[in-house]
Structures are given as structure tokens and as C-alpha cells.
Point group: D2
Chain length 335, copies 4
């Protein structure tokens, strides 16, 4: 399904070179101030620019179709459209039959029996993350005092990030990145043990972002090498605040009031100018690809705001579920 959430429920649709992409947000409470301007900052962060960035330039004007009246949410579903304008579908003519290594082209062709829209990656395009960001803008209005911040820590394993990207782009190649995310002022008790653990929901949302291949909470993979006496976060005091945060703010699937803290790894974009070998899916014959479309050398540069959005969507939903189930719950952050 292209939907996510139990109360605050987000559905996305659209293709890169179709009429429009969009998002429908169901389960947003009434009375939240919302206008086109609210989307500007986060959409600008997603749009990116800088070294090695795509030259596709969409205006990304969010067109609110429903759910807002006189500047406030009405409680009815909020639909936001982004029309597609700056399209150069001819760049993709060749890719129709020659799948890019590392891309969804081949699997999508087989999954949809050849009916997929190949232009610009179709529904698999990173362009749909604009819809995620838009939903995140709405979600972020529901979560205060929680505050989410994500940032790019490394690109290609290097901390001189802009330089690393410039070099790679110059060589017709692409590069991965490592993104960290923190949510402060977390209440205690968001999430469920087992299937809807906070880790389950956050990771579910993270892996909805194209290109993410790994997620770790707190100490993450290091936890596998640690002993209980090291890993267990000692309480600083009776508020539940801990001296360390190896658990990433989650015990037993529930937020524990400390910062939610996790990292995600994003693979390098699959579309590169460097020649790669592939084949023609009609004939099976080998073919060489050198991809000249407008592509980012490091998509991870644009991803922190998408990571924030996906996190906000999860937390907004859990806060609403919490309200339903725990009327008199004490919700205090210890952060």
C-alpha cells in the first residue's frame, strides 16, 4: 500500500513525468493553521542545489485541494498536489528497455508486467519525496514540544562533504551518505511492544525513502559488541533521564523520554554518467549505459528534511494513538 499510519494516515501518489504528484492526509485534527507558505522552508531544503545537484528545477508549489478553510484544517482529508512541469521525458527513451543497474527499473518491469511508466522512474521517482515532505510539514504542526532535527554527517565516508560530492560528480560518479536524526522533548510511552514498536514504525517510514539501506537506533550495530553493564543506560535521576543514550530513547518498543536518536545510510544514486553494462529487456542483448539525464551525485544531501518528515509522520500518529489510549498518562520529557 502507498499509505501509512493508523489515525494520522498519509497516502502518496504520482509519477515523475505524469500530471502531478500528491499526498492525501487523513486523520488530521481540525483547527490547525495551514497555508501554502508553511511548506516553503522544508520544500526548499528538499530541492537542494549545490555541487553535483540535478538541474531539474520544479517550482514545487504546493496546491492545497481540500481540508483547509480560512487558513485552518477542517478535520477532513487534506490533499496537496504538485504539478510536474520541468519534464524532459526524451532523456528516458532509451531507459525504457535498458534497466539501470542498481535501479528499480528491472524489478518494476517484471512486477507490473511491462505497464510501468518508465519516464523519470515513474512512481519510483525521488520526486515523490516532495509529497512526503508536505505531509511532514503538517505532522510537524502536531508534535510540539517535540522537535526533530536531521543532518548529513558524512558523504562517501568523508566529513568534508561538499568537497567529496564535487569530486565524485566531476568523475561522472555518485556517492552515498550517512544521516543522523534526533527528536527532543519526547514524551514517555510512544509505541507498542512488538509489532508497532517505535523502532518498527520509524524504520518502516525510513525505508519508505528511496535509497535508504540501513537504520540503527542509539548504539545500533555497536550494541552487538557491547556488554549489558556498558550498554544499559544508567538513570540520572527519578525522571527517567539517563546518563548515556545507547538505547536511542527506546526501551521495549516504547519511547523512554530521552531523545529519540537514530542514523540511516543512503546508498549512492544509481544513475551515473560513467558507463555501465546492462541489457535490452526485449532481446536480452547486452547494452552499455551512460546516463545523461539530470541526476544528483549525492541524493543524501537532500534527504535530511525527508528523514525529518518521515519521523514527524510517525510521531504525529503515535501522539494521536496515545491520546486515544492513555487519557491520564503522564507525558513528560526528560531530555
Amino acid at each position: 500500500m502507498n499509505s501509512f499510519g493508523r489515525i494520522f494516515r498519509v497516502s502518496i501518489f504520482g509519477e515523475s513525468h505524469g500530471q502531478a504528484i500528491g499526498v492525501v492526509i487523513d486523520g488530521c485534527p481540525a483547527g490547525i493553521g495551514l497555508g501554502g507558505d508553511d511548506f516553503a522552508e522544508d520544500l526548499a531544503r528538499r530541492r537542494g542545489g549545490g555541487p553535483g545537484a540535478t538541474t531539474r528545477r520544479e517550482i514545487d508549489a504546493p496546491l492545497i485541494q481540500s481540508g483547509v478553510f480560512e487558513g485552518k484544517t477542517t478535520g477532513s482529508p487534506i490533499a496537496v498536489l504538485f504539478e510536474n512541469h520541468d519534464i524532459r521525458s526524451e532523456d528516458y527513451d532509451r531507459l525504457r528497455h535498458v534497466p539501470r543497474p542498481g535501479h528499480a527499473d528491472f524489478a518494476a518491469h517484471r512486477r507490473y508486467g511491462g505497464f510501468r511508466d518508465h519516464r523519470g522512474g515513474g512512481h519510483f521517482s525521488g520526486r515523490l519525496t516532495a509529497a512526503l515532505v508536505a505531509a511532514g510539514v503538517v505532522a510537524k504542526k502536531l508534535i510540539p514540544p517535540i522537535r526533530i532535527r536531521a543532518w548529513l554527517e558524512q558523504a562517501g565516508g568523508r566529513r568534508d562533504i561538499e568537497e567529496a560530492i564535487r569530486e565524485t560528480a566531476g568523475q561522472g560518479d555518485s556517492i552515498g551518505g550517512l544521516i543522523a536524526c534526533q527528536a527532543e522533548n519526547m514524551p514517555i510511552g510512544l509505541g507498542e511492544p512488538f509489532f508497532d514498536s517505535l523502532e518498527s514504525l520509524v524504520s518502516h517510514a525510513m525505508f519508505a525513502i528511496p535509497g535508504i539501506k540501513a537504520v540503527e537506533f542509539g548504539a545500533g550495530f555497536k550494541a552487538a559488541e557491547m556488554r549489558g553493564s556498558e550498554f544499559n543506560d544508567a538513570f540520572a535521576d527519578a525522571s527517567g533521564r539517563t546518563k548515556t543514550n545507547h538505547a536511542g530513547g527506546i526501551n521495549g518498543g516504547l519511547s523512554n523520554g530521552n531523545n529519540l536518536s537514530f542514523r540511516v545510510a543512503m546508498r549512492p544514486p544509481s544513475s551515473i554518467r560513467k558507463p555501465q553494462r546492462s541489457f535490452d529487456i526485449r532481446t536480452g542483448q547486452e547494452a552499455e549505459l551512460s546516463i545523461d539525464g539530470r541526476h544528483d551525485a549525492c541524493i543524501a544531501m537532500r534527504a535530511p528534511v525527508i528523514v525529518e518528515a518521515a519521523t514527524a509522520i510517525v510521531l504525529a500518529d503515535l501522539l494521536l494513538v496515545e491520546r486515544a489510549l492513555r487519557p491520564s498518562a503522564e507525558q513528560e520529557s526528560v531530555g
Copy 2:
């Protein structure tokens, strides 16, 4: 929610020291052979034993309550119970008011307003993974020719795993572990782009296993350091088989026919004999804990079969969804 899956839907319930734990499996096709004996092997793998293992010894006899008639599934919900027998609740009397560092005790106390069942961790107990394993046994019957295998690669960062655990247990401490999982003979096209990507669903299920703190697919965190020209898996031939598997068998959220391949990190168990500082939640006063109950020094040892079960649950559900949506899809593995 304590449920997961769209067609093949698994719900678990129970507490460590309650009457019983159990699982309800809805959406299993009729006509699958199923009897009590089918559960024996996987339950034995989960039960563990060996160095540093808990001395709690549940018989783990799966009591099939419904959904099976004359040795075959009927298409109606399958309920399986495991009664709790070998209970020593008195071990937990002190823990009622003194939360274990690193454990869900504190967050659960706050979340449920003090009404949680503290005995043996209550609903948060690892004992509920027996229910997951039982669901996995049913799921594994639906997925052939797919074959799933998980194994413990390291404990505490060491490959001499039994020795590492023995040492740690001797010191009254516990230790984490790293588990790898592979699924062979994967069809092409399982999963969805975005919210129900194969990575989203597998990670969702993995983080439902208590103690898992990180998941990576294929090259995983290494992907953040790689270039596209390295990371992109080159096609070996027109079947879609690739020479490398940095993508872990997934592109654009869809299985690509190569092996599904991922790793998870499990933190060390929080209950250790070594003294730790905590506090009394009634008074806020400091308290020292040295946990003498029956606990594993390395829960990761027992986890591979649980990882397999969670993976099988995801794949069984996706195969049923695939059948619904892609009647004439070509489903060939390239593995």
C-alpha cells in the same frame, strides 16, 4: 497494535507469568498440512540452552485451539496457545518498583499508569517470541520455494561465540550479538515502492523482536561510503541475476530475484547479576539492583529462528498480496 500483515495477519498476546501466551493467524489459506509436531524443531531452536542460558524450562507445547481440522488448515483463524508453567514470580517482587536500567520497566510503568504486569516482564517478555516462532512455522509452509536461513555471526564482536558467552556469563554480565539472514529463491517484485517497501516490512518485523537495535540490507551502512559505480550491482545476465548483492536483493522497495540479504544487531540483555544503580518509582530514592532471576547472558543465541520467523511472516503476506495483484506475473528467482 499487536498485529501485523495485510492478508496473512498475525496477532500475539500474553504475559510471561500469566495464564498463557498465544498467537492468532488470520488469512492462512485452507488445505495446508499442520500439526503440533510441525512446531517442534523451530521451538527447540528458540528454547536454546548452552552456556549462559536461562534455567527457566517451559515445555513449549503448542496447543492448537482452532483453524485446523483433520491435520489441515481450514482457512479459518488459527489460534495457538502456550501455557505458562515454570513460573517463579517471587523473583520479580523487588523489580515491581525498581526499574531495571536498559529495560522497558520504567517506560511501561509510565505508559500504562502503573497497571502493567511486572512479573517476568509481563507482556514485554521475550517469552512472546514463542508466539512469533509459531506463526513463522505456519508462514514457512506458504513460502516455498523460498528458503530462509538466519545465523549468529558474532557475539560481543567475537566469532568464538560460545567462549565469549561463557566468559561474560561467568562475570555476571551479558553480551550482544550480530545475526545474518538470507532468503533464497526469491521471486521478483515482492513489496511496494515507498510505504510498504520490502525493507520497510522486513525492518518493521525485525524491530518487533525484543532487543534488536539495527537493521541493514546488503551493503547496509557501508553503502553510505560507496560510489555508484561500486555499489550498483551489475547484471550477470538477462535473468536479472547480479554479480554482487550490495542491494540485499531489493531495488526500489521490490525484491529483484537475488537473495534477500540483511543483518540485525541485538543488544545485550538488560538483566544482569552485576550491581546496577536504579531508584524506587514510589519514592524516587536510589536503589541498587543485582538481578538474580533466570536470564540469558546472550539472547542473540536464541534469536536466529525468531529472525527467520519474522522474515517468513513478511514474505508469506507479500506472496499472498502478490497473488492478488499480479495474476499473470512472471515470478522467477535468479538466485
Copy 3:
């Protein structure tokens, strides 16, 4: 699916002559007093007795497996079992291959490819309504000040109900019934426009009760014959209370604060002693049936408490959803 509800979620399982039937209730808040005795009254109402009643006598002892500790709900899933004891499966030997007219036998045989449990109707048995009633008992604890009451208005179109049933039973026949239900002290605004209208959810739950074939709200079918000037319920005052209740307490899918009011029709039980013609599904040859098992002549007699339970399940869920979405909503009844 055998599940229903968004937050307060009920799943049922079991077969008439299997090990046990049961229910799992997820999404119940913590701290609600609950014990075995709470179920006694409603289960006794369902058990029935009186003229034309089945002689199957199950003790109907609710076995709480999980989710309750020291007499209060813990917030974890509540599982309740009812073991099957008073079974006479041999009564059903002949029915295995000869479908009863008016019964699910034939469709179930085809749906499940012959793997269904035919004994006592298997999963299709009215016995599973004990599980619904048990869930209703929990739901009724969440809805005050709302109070639900259902009653049998007519049997076979007659108001001398007991006499009508006695006559019919004496003739080896069965008889249908008309049940009315009212919920008082309704808040304003439960339900959604369109897909989750209050009518949609109540009717969905009603038709989950075996044998119900019609549902009408307020004036119901009469509404088709009325004019707007008659049908529109005039406001009695500014509280929203209306002078009439043709709408059954629902406008635009939302409760309007007046009594929720509806009627359901229950068909006569299909199992009758009077000879009926059928056929053998193995050979297609004609066969005559005279059903001697233990069956009710008027199942509608036992249904009011089931109608109440199904209504309570819907309202409990909607009240929790309402809490999530409308923190500051004015919720006043006008009834």
C-alpha cells in the same frame, strides 16, 4: 478478516466442536476493572433457554488468558477463551456431505476447497457469538455514560413472542425475529462522513452476527416514502435535541447527540426438523434432510445481547478515535 476496529480492535477465532473459541481485544486502555464475573450476566442472556431452545449446554466459563493483572486491564491484549465441552459431533456426520438449505455449508465447502470443519458448523457456528458478547462486556465498560439496550420486538411477525416460538418449535420448524436497539446519552460527532459513517460501522458489526439480513436506522425503509418536511427532525432547542428521531441519531454519518436508534431483522435458523431436499456434494445425488441436532427454533431470542455487544464494540472504538482527534471537542448528549 476476523478482526474489527481501528483502536479498540476485536479478533475472534474458533470452531463449534474444536478445542475452544476465543477473542483477542487489542487497544483497550489500562486500568479498567475486569474479572470473570463481569461476563456472567451477558453470557447468561446469550445462553438463552426457554421454548424451542437448543439443549446444548455449555458452561461458557470465560477463561481470561492475558491482559488483566490484579483485577485491572494492563493495556496489553486481552485474550478470553471458552472451551468446548458439550459436543455431539456425530450429529453432524451426515451433514458433512449434504449441505443444509439456507446454511453456509455449501458456500463454505466451495470456498475452502473441502477443508472446512463441518462439525457443528465449524467456524460458522453461532457459538462464536459468545466471543462477541465477551468483547462487548469489555466495550461496555468504556462507553459510559452511553447506555445500550436491545430487545426482541417480534418473532415471526407476532408480539406474543414466546407463544409464537413454542408453536413453531412444535411443528419442527424455526422462526425469524425483529430486534430493536437504542443507545442513550450519545455524544455529538462520533463517526465520519462517507466510509466510516456511524451507520457504516454499526451495520458492518450487525451483519457480522450470523442470521441478520436487514438493518435500518431511525425511520429506515419508511424514509423512502417520506417527504423532507416530514422526515427532517426539527430541533427542540439549541442543544441539538430534536422533537422526532427519524434520523436514528445520525446525520451525515455523525452521531447528533440524540439516541442512536436502529432495528435489525434476523432470519429463521436454517436447521429444522421438517424434511428438506438437498444433495450429496460428492455425487450430486438428491438427498433428504431432517435435522435432529440441538438447534434453536428462534435464534433471535438470544440475539439482543449480541446486538448490544456489537454496538458497544463500535462505540468504544469511535470514542477512542474521537479522543485522538478532538481533544477539546464539546461532547454533550442531548438525549
Copy 4:
């Protein structure tokens, strides 16, 4: 939620006088031919006209935003928009504070804390049924050989329907209607026992249509007055075909291969020219209403195609679920 369906999932959004209304259809298989023209016939039937009809004239041009490429569905979500053009919001200025008797105005005002869009009924408008009809057009492509047909049987209890409406409209009043629906060539086994019975799902969808207040299957309310020996549909032969259809084609929640057959009652529209008493929600003071906007005297006239659409949505989803769960099921109609 404004969504419905398990695999074939329909979400609607929009307000009567907002930018646009629309529908997103997730879970539609790839390769189905679909273009703007496919919607014309059903949208024209919904648009209506004739005696007592509204004079609002929307062009109702379906704008396909996504999910279709080169005239075929791609397997990705299909979004269809209908822009709002022929708007006269000033007609509603007075209604902002004076709720119409029989309308959602009052309950919606209370539910959404006053933030609802009152213009043209906002999200509660019958205009959103254009979105339902659009989803029905897609669903109808998935269900052959099933064929659905709905028709208006009576208006105001009369069979001279046009005349009845003309009279009522002339008097500034409105009138209800009775609609019958049949689906032919039904497979055996669609639906589930209990919560997802075919009756549950069809009634759920029916009550999503504004104004429907009653649903009955087969003999419906008459069933309450019948005896088993009358009601039980005798088998005509070993195919499962029955001589009568009192069950409406459903036994035990499953389709039995005979025609699905049901009736719904639609109340008269609440907006009438005849003066009615109401009150101002700001002051509580009495107010008289005579509604002069563009309204239908008998909305039931336009409803048959909406009833068909809602039925098709249910059946399309159930057929996909059936495919998932019953690979080798015999699916023969007996109709």
C-alpha cells in the same frame, strides 16, 4: 477514515466549494485499459437532471493525475480529480450559523469545533459521490463476468416516479426513494464469516452514500416474519443454484453463487424551500430557514449509479482477496 478496502483501496477527499474533489485508488492491478472516456457514462447517470433536479451544472471532467500510462493502469495509485467550477458560495452564507434540520450541519459544527467548511456542505456534500462513481468505474473493470445493476423502484412510495418528484418539487418539498441492486454471475465464496461478511462490507459501503438509512438483503425485513421451511432457499440442483433467493445470494457471510440482491432506502434531501425552524448556533436564538440553493427534490434519482459503484468497489476488493487466499478455488456462478 475516508478510505475503504483491503487490497483495492479507495480514498476520497474534497469539499463542495473547495479547489477540487478527488479519489485515490490503490491496489489496482497493472494493465487495465483506462481513459477519461471510460468515466463518461456513469458520471452522466450521476449528474442527473429531469424534474426537481439541482441546477448546479458541473462539467465533471475526470482529471487523471497518476497511475495510468499509455492508456493502461500501471499498478501505481490512480488519482482522479474533479475541479469545482459552478460555485455559488453566497447561497450558503446564512447557513454558516443556522443548521439545517435533517442535515449534518449541526453535528459537523460540533465535531470539528467550528472549523468545518460550511459552503455547499463542505466535505459532507453529495458532490463527493462523483469520486465514488469514478472509483466504481475502475472497479467495474475488475469484476467481469459479474455484472451489477441498480435502479430506482419507488419515490415517496410511488412507482410513477417522475410524477411523484414533480409534485413534490412543486411544493418546495423533497422526497425519498427505494433502490434495488442485483449482481449477476457471482462466484461462490466471496466474503468472510463474521466481521467481513459480504453483507457487512456491502452495507458498510452503502451507508457511505449520503442519505441511505436502511439496507436489506434478499427477503430482508420480511425474513423476521418467516419460518425456516419458507425462508431456506431450496437447491435447484447440485450447482448450488436455488429456486428462491430469500438469502440475497449470501449464506454465512459468503456469496453462494446466486445473484447478490439487496435494497436500500434513501431519505428525502434535507434542503427544502418550505420554511423550517432552526436556530443560530452563536446565540441559540430561533431562526426560520427557507433554503433557496440549488438542490435536488429527490436525490435517490441519481443514486443507482452510486449504489452500483459502491457495490463494485466491494466486489473488486473481495475478488482480489479471494485470489490471494484461494488459488485453486472453483469460482462458478450458478445464476
